[in-house]
């Protein structure tokens, strides 16, 4: 597709939008679909048709509007409705030209909505992710157009570097630096891989981006490919995300048909193709070298680094791997400029971050906030605090690689460095809030069980160490702990952290270490309950001076 054609299509799509007097948006992402939003969409469409309002009211399925716990969410023009059932359709359609339906009212003036800053999710809830035209009307592929027609690859990398964007997959590696490493690497073939193997328990940020705005991911990847000199891309999505797979497939086909992927994009010499690969359900395949092995058709096992994928990645070629949310930030940075992006967030952590709020909070769902917002603000203002008058105990960030942060640190700003200092990590954005009824040893045991079953088994410290750690945590939480258990936990954690082959093993002890750091009392309380006896870990003898009677 030539540039003018796309701009014309976008303009026409915008006019079509304006042609309608009313717009009804129904969330059709996994969360709301699980509470019958497809039926709601169907009955709203039927109701509009029954009234013969097809030319005045546009009913469409859209991406996530955030407040998942109150789904299905439906937006009728500017009014948001929650917990909508199919039988509410008549009232909702009637209300378009009358008073709002009070019983379904969802307050959009609450901090959950007003304090958010939408960059990655700016079109979620606005566009029909399955309609390329709708996406074009909202600015899709304009960043790519600008890059291909106005910028050199070096300038693109310069822009991303200047924006301060860091990897949203967990570790926070500077994205511009990664891109320039791949760009500098020699070799005819290069690859861009989008890591959509979101596997942390309680995390669904990337799923939402892929389900709600798949073209944004493709655009980010295409821009990256242009910048680093790649012409082939792979999106690796876990097969447990069937809707994301379906919508990405559809988006890829639409983009190909309209020559937004393929040869001579916008009439330039740039070519780029994307294929989808499904993960078979292994957490370790989120680790980049394991992901590459999986894409190549081998067992998803990590390998020692270096060489890093930037130099030797997919099929041995230089490969850029970024996470879904990272790519989804790129079009916005290109369109609005690095300075705009760098103006959001903190000194070292720029932009926004999407978080999946789960656990013991009133509002569970997805939020996008500027980096640097305090945990207290997120949990008490946006998430609405702890229900049932219970007291907050801890928030778990970073999934199985992260840690639990207690109440005394709620005022720290959420950025990469602060969370790391507290013994947790930013991670991909899962936030599990726990109240006073949660047992922190159980939490540690749960995450260790997760790591144990997800360990690939390649290296000894992770394969056996996580099993041993789980055994100790399990017996402590069953009240069968032994007196030397805390020392042995510490020792095993240190060893597994330092000697494991990949990030899974190296970070598996984090939930244990952070709960030991902040909630050692709970471990001790359980140990005191344990029946006496049991041996202390043996072999204190090597340091014991011997005195045998002469």
């Amino acid at each position: 597709m030539k540039a003018e054609e796309m701009l014309n299509l976008a303009e026409k799509a915008r006019q079509d939008l304006d042609h309608f007097q009313h717009h009804i948006h129904v969330c059709t992402e996994s969360g709301c679909q699980s509470s019958q939003s497809q039926a709601v969409l169907a009955s709203l469409t039927a109701e509009v048709n029954r009234r013969g309002w097809q030319d005045r009211v546009w009913v469409k399925g859209v991406g996530c509007m955030g407040l998942c716990c109150e789904g299905p969410l439906v937006k009728c023009d500017d009014r948001l409705y929650q917990r909508v059932r199919p039988q509410d359709a008549a009232d909702l359609v009637a209300s378009l030209e009358a008073e709002p339906v009070e019983r379904l009212h969802c307050d959009t003036e609450q901090p959950f909505f007003t304090r958010q800053k939408l960059v990655v999710r700016e079109n979620a809830g606005k566009i029909d992710p399955e309609s390329l035209l709708d996406c074009l009307a909202h600015g899709a592929y304009q960043g790519l157009l600008r890059v291909l027609t106005e910028m050199t690859p070096a300038a693109v990398i310069q822009e991303i570097t200047a924006s301060g964007l860091r990897g949203r997959g967990g570790a926070g590696f500077p994205t511009g630096l990664k891109w320039s490493t791949v760009a500098k690497a020699g070799g005819a073939a290069k690859y861009v891989i989008c890591n959509g193997d979101e596997g942390d328990p309680g995390a669904f940020m990337d799923r939402s981006v892929m389900e709600g705005d798949p073209h944004r991911v493709l655009e980010g990847m295409a821009i990256a490919a242009y910048a680093v000199g790649a012409d082939h891309g792979v999106i690796y999505v876990r097969a447990e995300y069937p809707l994301a797979v379906k919508r990405l497939n559809k988006a890829i086909n639409q983009a190909r048909r309209h020559e937004l992927l393929g040869l001579n994009i916008f009439g330039t010499h740039f070519q780029f193709n994307v294929e989808l690969r499904l993960g078979a359900g292994a957490f370790v395949c989120g680790e980049e070298t394991a992901l590459i092995a999986s894409v190549e058709g081998r067992r998803g096992l990590p390998r020692p680094r270096p060489p890093y994928p930037a130099n030797e990645g997919l099929y041995g070629a230089p490969t850029l791997i970024n996470n879904v949310e990272t790519f989804a930030n790129v079009p916005a940075i290109i369109q609005r400029g690095a300075a705009w992006f760098a103006g959001i967030g903190t000194a070292k952590s720029k932009g926004t971050k999407v978080f999946a709020l789960t656990g013991r909070v009133r509002n569970t769902g997805l939020i996008e906030v500027p980096m640097g917002m305090s945990l207290r603000e997120i949990i008490y203002d946006l998430a609405g605090g702890i229900p049932e008058g219970k007291a907050f105990k801890a928030v778990q960030t970073g999934g199985p690689s992260g840690g639990c942060i207690p109440a005394e640190h709620l005022d720290i700003p959420v950025d990469y460095e602060s969370l790391t200092r507290l013994g947790s990590i930013m991670g991909s954005g899962g936030m599990i809030v726990m109240d006073e009824t949660s047992n922190m040893v159980d939490v540690a045991r749960f995450f260790m069980e997760f790591c144990m079953t997800e360990s690939c088994g390649k290296c000894v410290p992770c394969r056996v160490g996580t099993w041993q750690l789980h055994g100790i945590l399990d017996r402590i939480s069953r009240g069968q702990g032994k007196s030397g258990d805390l020392n042995q936990l510490q020792e095993l954690c240190a060893m597994v952290k330092q000697t494991s082959l990949c990030g899974l093993g190296q970070s598996a002890p984090n939930p244990v270490l952070s709960t030991l750091r902040y909630f050692e009392k709970e471990y001790r309380a359980l140990l005191e309950k344990a029946p006496a006896a049991g041996a202390a870990p043996a072999n204190s003898a090597k340091t014991v001076a011997l005195e045998v009677a002469p």
Binding site: R303, G457, K458, V460, P461, W467, Q468, M495, Q498, T499
Partner: protein
């Protein structure tokens, strides 16, 4: 391992206080072995592809807070490597203890008693007991092959057998199934070894196995059966029969 060209540039580095030179592209482990510096390994074997799973060859590099696998780390100019320290010995011992606790390594009744790399490594490192609880898993012995036996009780999942079979013999009969603590070596699509259509009976896997997991048949006490079918014919054979 990569081929190192004869003309490759040479580098200097320091291992355990010795100033050494090596060719570009050589790993720390290769340079150490060439110079008689012992670094323990179980999964690494010259001639097979890099695995990096046993973690025994971890070494310290000055200026880096992390530990580095000597088998996987290519030397760079001016590297300062320590292959032995209280911390490294402690971790190596823990790795051996973990391996001993993982499956049923009953040395006293193992056919490889006295010829086992895990056993001698434990002795070398001074592992005189295992401070971690034993797992005591119930594992199988695959006795279906005419010549060889796979005893999963003794397997440490170093995958030397998998690699030698795929990379040297070219058969790729063996691979790994499952993950984590439940991972196990398999033949073909997890079939009994004796049913394998791809196994060439070459025996490389048996001879490369560091423990008693892969052995020749006929080496266990119960297999020491005399073949005495000829006894009734002894007199006949001596020509004394009627």
């Amino acid at each position: 391992m990569k081929a190192v060209s004869a003309t490759a540039a040479s580098l200097t580095l320091n291992i355990d206080g010795q100033d050494l030179s090596c060719r570009a592209g050589e790993t720390i482990l290769e340079v150490a072995r060439e110079n008689g510096i012992a670094i323990p390994t179980l999964c690494w074997l010259e001639g097979l592809s890099l695995w990096g799973g046993c973690r025994l060859c971890l070494v310290e590099i000055a200026g880096s807070p992390k530990l580095h696998a000597a088998c996987a780390t290519v030397c760079t100019e001016g590297l300062h490597v320590t292959t032995n320290s209280p911390r490294l010995t402690h971790y190596r011992r823990m790795i051996v203890e973990m391996l001993l606790s993982e499956r049923n390594h009953v040395c006293s009744v193992c056919v490889s008693n006295g010829h086992c790399e895990l056993q001698s490594l434990a002795q070398k490192l001074g592992v005189d007991h295992v401070s971690l609880p034993y797992r005591f898993p119930k594992l199988t012995v695959d006795n279906s092959h005419d010549l060889f036996r796979m005893d999963h009780n003794r397997c440490i999942l170093c995958t030397r057998c998998v690699r030698v079979c795929a990379e040297v013999e070219g058969a790729h009969t063996k691979d790994v199934k499952g993950r984590g603590i439940l991972a196990a070596i398999i033949q073909d699509l997890d079939q009994p070894w004796g049913d394998s259509k791809t196994c060439t009976n070459c025996g490389k896997c048996v001879n490369i196995c560091p423990t008693g997991a892969l052995t020749h048949r006929g080496t266990a006490v119960g297999e020491m059966v005399k073949k005495q079918e000829f006894l009734p014919y002894l007199t006949l054979m001596r020509g004394c029969g009627k």
